[in-house]
């Protein structure tokens, strides 16, 4: 088990990708040798306990405000490595202003963004990332663009900002994808270590519980539906020009 994970047992549902992503982050922190100077800002949502799962100093931000909290931490102690871990309700809805402005300032922090197209913790309500036609507890007839607007593509949107140094979208459905995801997370942390500016990795993730699917079905649904609307890939990489 990576040093950077604590002994606390994950509280996530079977088949949920939060756990896989946690492990990848911990491995990256270990490999970069930054555990003793890393600070985590955990969100509100299913991953609210993330601060306990990592063997690093940490806190929990109010819903959506993690980028502002991380900004305060980083400005106060620029020698620390600060990362936020946020769901799509957190980052793409209540906290849109905070993430946009942290990215636009080129705040030298790293954000891991878990996009599972739904509000997990509060019981499966619509998220800004919910796909058109997708049923949730607050879109019981399926998401309708006229009534609820369109699913928001955060990586694309944030990559238009000059302060964003590195943004990539990944998923963790297969071993190959996991390897790519880890590479992206590592690059994001390296971007911060080198002081190059804002970095974000969006991870398309499952929520079998609220999607009403088995873990295997959920993985399949993610690949066949979410990955179509939210294409994988690097959206911005200014790390070369910045170096």
């Amino acid at each position: 088990m990576p040093d950077s994970l604590s002994k606390k047992e994950f509280t996530y549902c079977p088949g949920c990708h939060h756990g896989i992503v946690h492990r990848l982050i911990a491995e990256v922190i270990d490999e970069l040798g930054i555990r003793e100077k890393t600070l985590i800002v955990a969100p509100v949502g299913c991953s609210v306990f993330a601060y306990e799962f990592f063997n690093v100093d940490g806190t929990v931000a109010p819903h959506g405000r993690a980028p502002a909290v991380a900004t305060g931490m980083k400005r106060a102690t620029p020698d620390k490595i600060v990362f936020t871990y946020q769901g799509d309700g957190d980052l793409a809805s209540i906290g849109t202003a905070e993430i946009v402005h942290a990215a636009n300032r080129g705040e030298n922090i790293t954000t891991i963004f878990i996009n599972n197209a739904v509000y997990g913790m509060t019981g499966g309500q619509m998220a800004p990332t919910t796909l058109l036609g997708q049923k949730t507890t607050t879109t019981p007839y399926g998401r309708d663009a006229k009534a609820n607007g369109y699913p928001i593509r955060m990586s694309e949107m944030l990559s238009t900002l000059a302060g964003a140094a590195y943004i990539e979208r990944v998923m963790v459905t297969t071993p190959q994808n996991v390897i790519k995801a880890k590479r992206a997370i590592k690059k994001a942390f390296e971007t911060q270590i080198k002081g190059l500016g804002f970095s974000l990795v969006e991870v398309l993730s499952t929520c079998p519980t609220n999607w009403g699917k088995s873990p295997v079905e959920a993985g399949k649904w993610l690949e066949e539906n979410m990955a179509k609307y939210y294409p994988l890939g690097v959206y911005v990489d200014r790390t070369k020009e910045a170096e």
């Binding site: 609210v48 063997n55 109010p62 900004t71 305060g72």
Partner: protein, 350 residues
Amino acid sequence: MKMLFKGSEAIAEAAIRAGCRLYFGYPITPQSELTEYMSRRLPEVEGTFLQAESEVATVNMMYGASCTGRRVMTSTSSPGFSLMMEGVSYMAGAELPAVFVNVVRGGPGLGDIQPAQSDYFQATKGGGHGDYRMIVLAPHTIQEAVDLMNLAFDLADKYRMLVTILADGMLGQMMEPVEFPPMRDPNDVPEKKWALTGAKGREPRKVTSFDIDPYELEKMNLRYQATYKKVEENEVRYEEMNTEGADIIVAAYGTMARIVKTVIHMAEEEGIKVGLFRPITLWPFPYKRLNELADTVDTILTVEMSYGQMLEDVKLGVNGKAKTPFYGRSAGVVPTPTEVLDAIKKAIGR
């Protein structure tokens, strides 16, 4: 050496001298000069100034900065303070020290940009959610505001609490000669054994405002209450003027108390002996001393630039021992000394 300074700027300079090197804020009248002063001055002392995208972001940046153990502050005016309440509640729950300056203007809503005291309830009774308290200091001159900055940061660190300087547009905008205390070394603060500094050679530290288990959360809440009790026992502050043998005592704070000081002299000429009781800490409120004073006079008149907000605390202190009439204006209207004198005469039947 005394220097002529605008209120907002004097408060900013005093904060820097108190060892504050981190300021986050968002412009709002009538205190934007404080924000602007910080943007000029902090870089000179290797500090950090950041104009946030909103007051919501501001208070959360303070949350993050305070987590690292460094002294941090913001300043705002009423609508901005309202927006900060989410973070205020979270910081109170996480026992994070920080200093807020609220230069109060007329409300509710967008209101106006004139001086008012109508954020008293919000500052002293909550505003954010949950059972929390913050220390509230109410200066009545620019010099006092300057002197209270050191105290504000020290109290915040000592009790791991939020401290608000409750001023008003008048104090923020006027100019007065002030004497500043010497510059303090920002590193010369007591070690914060809870601060997030990286888990080097120790167990990781966690700073949070929550526990999902109600019994554990209750324990946290009882800890907050124990702290608040200590503050109530040790940190009550007030000023008295002419209260001995007074015909009437007037309770007032901030700019309003300053007006009462003028009225005391006007009343003297008419043969009325007016005493002033001026709370400096609005929380903890000086209930005990007010209760003692209620034994010495028939009437304690409350005057405020709001409609009876402090009056509720005065009544709690007096506890029925004396009459508690009230005179207040609000919405940015500052009562004239003559109006206050008339209210005094009315209260004692002259």
